[in-house]
């Protein structure tokens, strides 16, 4: 190391090249190359074109490609390549005019509204609302009805009317930038508003402007060539891309290739503008997230073959048994193991605690038993058994039959755990029909739904069934969620932090309910929690997990009175309510 890194300036935004890193994105680079090449070729048309665009050679009309006519000739024997080169001029001129107005007007309105706020903002936003609702194309036609064949007047109109869209985008990112530290610093140091906008806000918007510029260029090109196609923007016989498509459409039976060439070039440019815009947007986002150009694709997790041959025979104890169970997630940095060789057994009629802080792997373990890991998660080793049947590695189709009827889930946030668009009754009925083994029609299903809602101690089940989730309280919703989990009479119920999101007064009621359900139905409940108070209150046995490993295992009494592992001790000490619960355990 010979030189120190340059100090990072906090007081002003560092200029970043929006094209930096483009070479690592071949598609974006290719799109840029297409746009630049075609634009330069069109500008240099008088130098590059092999023939004058209007020169007719009727002897060689509709000729194929030849040395003197690389792309052939049209129905009047005019050279297609030359006409394409010259025909790009009105198209790209129109795009240039529209984009200039779009950028200048949209940026000015957006920055003014977003930085000054107040009345300026309100007036501009009102103006934008109206501008966005005006049908731009039809106003362009009205302009063309007056300024006949005026490409520039029409495209000015398009840029003017579309600028509101850009202004809206600029305004919102400007409001965000306004809150950033370096802008605050500039304001405090007494810089004028105009200077702050020009020196500090504008550089932050360059990337965004370029992206919008590319996307709008595509739109403008489409509109300009559309006008050309209708014969409204360029008086014939002068060539224009849109006009050439129109001419080709007259003779598409005789020479279909003309249509392919002229339209294909417009399409190529338009696709290139779109790809360039999307690519630049991704580059900007990558930089913002500091991930550079590294591929964001997660590195997949290799699934290890079962090492222990013993895993083919079911463990003889417990309704649920987990053996040497490991789970890994694919991340862009490579596979990350979140559960590491975990083994435990849960018995019928037992409430089994799965304890740990967030990130300890307890929820992931629970979800994986249901086959509900996020798509980038994989069980990488070991096995899980439910009532003597191996459930790890089962195909999705078989897992669907088990879920709800053999093993069920109650999740953490009751407010978002139910479908907001359907009534409680409708959702429960669907689950009952699917898993509840109810014979009979609608009445039997309705009866079963009422039974389920009563069994979780909800008063007036008929009323509850008619409600949408947003009409019920968190505690009531959690009871509904438990009812739903009970619909298929599962052998094992996994309750993932079932009380965390609820008020303290409601928590005890839910835990009481779980205990009484266990007593009535004799099912096993796996209670996933970070709250040792809940464990002391409700569990028979528990395991404590830290960073994907089991660090403590045993009866609740053992864990509280004879903790072996320092982590458990720390956990007990850091739980303020433990003095109270310890008294209750004893």
């Amino acid at each position: 190391m010979t030189a120190a890194d340059p100090p990072v300036s906090v007081s002003s935004r560092k200029w970043t090249n929006p094209f930096a890193g483009i070479w690592r994105r071949p598609l974006t680079a290719a799109a840029l190359a297409v746009v630049l090449t075609v634009t330069v070729a069109v500008i240099l048309a008088p130098l590059l074109a092999p023939h004058p665009p209007l020169a007719q050679d009727l002897l060689h009309a509709r000729g194929g490609p030849s040395a003197s006519h690389p792309l052939g000739t049209d129905e009047l024997g005019r050279d297609v390549l030359s006409r394409l080169l010259y025909g790009g001029r009105p198209a790209l001129l129109g795009v240039g005019v529209a984009v200039s107005v779009y950028i200048v007007l949209g940026m000015s309105l957006g920055i003014l509204a977003g930085y000054l706020r107040g009345w300026t903002d309100r007036v501009i936003v009102g103006l934008m609302d109206v501008m966005l609702s005006v049908p731009a194309v039809i106003i362009m036609l009205a302009v063309l009805a007056i300024f006949s064949q005026s490409n520039v007047a029409a495209m000015l109109t398009l840029g003017f009317l579309s600028a509101a869209g850009l202004a809206r985008i600029i305004r919102s990112s400007c409001i965000a930038l306004r809150e950033e530290l370096f802008v605050d610093a500039a304001r405090v140091s007494g810089l004028s508003a105009a200077r702050i906008m020009a020196r500090h806000i504008f550089p932050g918007l360059v990337g965004l402007l370029l992206v919008q510029m590319c996307l709008f260029s595509g739109i403008a090109l489409m509109v300009q060539t559309g006008l050309g196609f209708l014969g409204l923007a360029t008086p014939p016989p002068a060539p224009s891309w849109g006009g050439m498509v129109g001419e080709a459409s007259q003779v598409m039976e005789q020479s279909p290739s003309l249509l392919l060439i002229s339209g294909g070039l417009i399409g190529l440019m338009s696709v290139a503008f779109g790809l360039l815009g999307d690519g630049l947007r991704d580059l900007t986002q990558d930089r913002r997230q500091g991930t550079g150009s590294r591929s964001q694709r997660p590195v997949p997790v290799a699934v290890a073959k079962d090492t222990a041959e013993a895993s083919d025979t079911p463990p003889d104890a417990g309704v649920l048994a987990v053996r040497d169970y490991s789970i890994a997630f694919a991340t862009p940095q490579g596979p990350r193991t979140v559960v590491d060789s975990v083994s435990f057994t849960v018995n019928t009629g037992e409430i089994f605690g799965l304890v740990g802080e967030s990130g300890s792997g307890k929820t992931v373990t629970g979800l994986s038993l249901l086959g509900l890991l996020a798509p980038n998660g994989t069980v990488t080793g070991g096995s899980a058994w439910l009532a003597g049947r191996r459930i790890s590695g089962l195909p999705e189709r078989d897992l669907q039959r088990i879920r709800g009827s053999e093993i069920a889930l109650v999740s953490q946030e009751p407010m978002v755990a139910l479908d907001p668009n359907f009534t409680i009754g409708s959702q429960l009925s669907e689950v009952v029909r699917r898993t509840g083994a109810v014979s009979g029609g609608k009445d039997a299903v309705g009866q079963r739904v009422r039974e389920l809602l009563s069994s979780v101690h909800l008063r007036d089940p008929d009323d509850i069934a008619r409600r949408h989730p947003h009409e019920l309280s968190g505690g009531m919703l959690q009871r509904v969620a438990i009812a739903m989990a009970l619909a298929g009479s599962p052998k094992v119920l996994i309750a993932d932090e079932p009380t965390t999101a609820l008020d303290v007064t409601v928590q005890a009621g839910i835990l009481d309910l779980l205990r009484s359900l266990r007593d009535e139905r004799g099912m096993a409940i796996i209670l996933i929690t970070h709250d040792l108070g809940v464990v002391a209150d409700s569990c028979d046995r528990a395991i404590v997990m830290e960073q994907g490993r089991i660090v403590e295992e045993g009866s609740v009494e053992d864990i509280f009175y004879r903790p072996q592992h320092p982590y458990t001790k720390k956990l007990i000490e850091s739980t303020p309510s433990i003095a109270r619960t310890e008294g209750r355990v004893a």
Partner: protein, 313 residues
């Protein structure tokens, strides 16, 4: 729900005023004398003066505009400078074809777009990549060119559908429908790309929600989760996409009608533009603006129907 509708309607008034003002303002730029243009050189001075009076050309601009606005509010859009036909009658006669195109394309692109979007959200990486490419091409390739390719394929190479022309429904329902197939498909391509993309994105984020996991954990069938529960939640973004698409189809009809020579507002307005027939262009501009306002209202109503919280409250 009602405040949103009032806001829309409140916006509609200045919008109509502005659109009519822009077009009227343009009228004052008309080269030459419109009255002279219509009547030709053989008209008498009396005829000339009478026409100037009906077109309000003898008044200053502000009064001209005010009288025009008053006439519009009374349902009088003036008459064509070219044919002398009443603009309102002309619009009434041409509007149905445009509406059929817009509605047909909206229905088609909604069905195809939602199906494609859901399919690509629930399939693997390869289909997603393929979908991206098709959607990029669908939205970036020039619509009029794709329309011509459809003609060259399905009307010329394989003459299944007529290439151009319109048969009134009353004359032959079968030919009427056959003549609309290609125009409707051509118009809907861009919309399919947008709707399927929005559906796909909404579907992907919905499938990661808690309640979807609850449903899966309860053993609900994947088909029901995707098509009933998740799709229902995609209602708002998809409705927005359908609204945007439908609004884009209105100017889109201009190109499509001209390619397939259908007697709609799009062909009317292009002919009027070529003939400097400003009253007709004005009339079509106001009709299009009102269509945009109506579609926005429709989307707002759809919104409140799709959102259970708004509906119940």
């Amino acid at each position: 729900m009602f405040p949103i509708i009032f806001r829309r309607l409140a916006l509609a008034v200045p919008l109509l005023v502005i659109v009519s003002a822009i077009t009227s303002l343009l009228e004052s730029f008309v080269p030459g004398d419109p009255a002279r243009t219509i009547l030709g050189i053989n008209a008498t001075q009396e005829q000339y003066d009478a026409l100037r009076a009906t077109l309000h050309l003898d008044k200053p601009f502000a009064e001209q505009y005010w009288l025009y606005l008053r006439d519009i509010l009374h349902g009088d859009f003036g008459s064509s400078l070219f044919s002398g036909e009443s603009v309102l009658a002309l619009i009434g006669q041409r509007l149905p074809v445009t509406l059929i195109l817009v509605i047909g394309a909206t229905v088609l692109s909604t069905l195809v777009g939602v199906l494609l979007g859901v399919y690509s959200a629930t399939r693997g990486r390869v289909s997603r990549r393929l979908f991206d490419i098709v959607s990029l091409l669908g939205s970036a390739l020039p619509n009029f060119w794709l329309a011509l390719m459809l003609v060259s394929l399905f009307a010329i190479r394989f003459p299944i559908f007529p290439a151009t022309g319109y048969t009134p429904f009353a004359q032959s329902p079968g030919q009427w429908a056959a003549g609309l197939v290609l125009p409707v498909i051509a118009l809907s391509i861009g919309g399919v790309a947008l709707i399927s993309k929005i559906t796909r994105d909404a579907m992907l984020s919905t499938l990661g929600l808690d309640y979807i996991r609850t449903l899966r954990a309860s053993g609900v069938r994947p088909a029901s989760i995707v098509w009933k529960h998740a799709l229902r939640s995609c209602g708002l973004p998809v409705a927005t996409a359908i609204g945007i698409t439908m609004i884009a189809y209105i100017p889109g009809t201009i190109l499509v009608e001209n390619i397939f020579t259908l007697p709609g507002l799009g062909t009317t307005v292009v002919d009027a533009t070529n003939q400097h027939d400003l009253p007709v262009v004005q009339g079509v501009a106001i009709t299009f603006t009102m269509l945009v306002i109506a579609i926005n209202l429709l989307v707002d109503v759809l919104y409140s129907l799709l959102n259970p919280k708004v509906r119940v409250a």
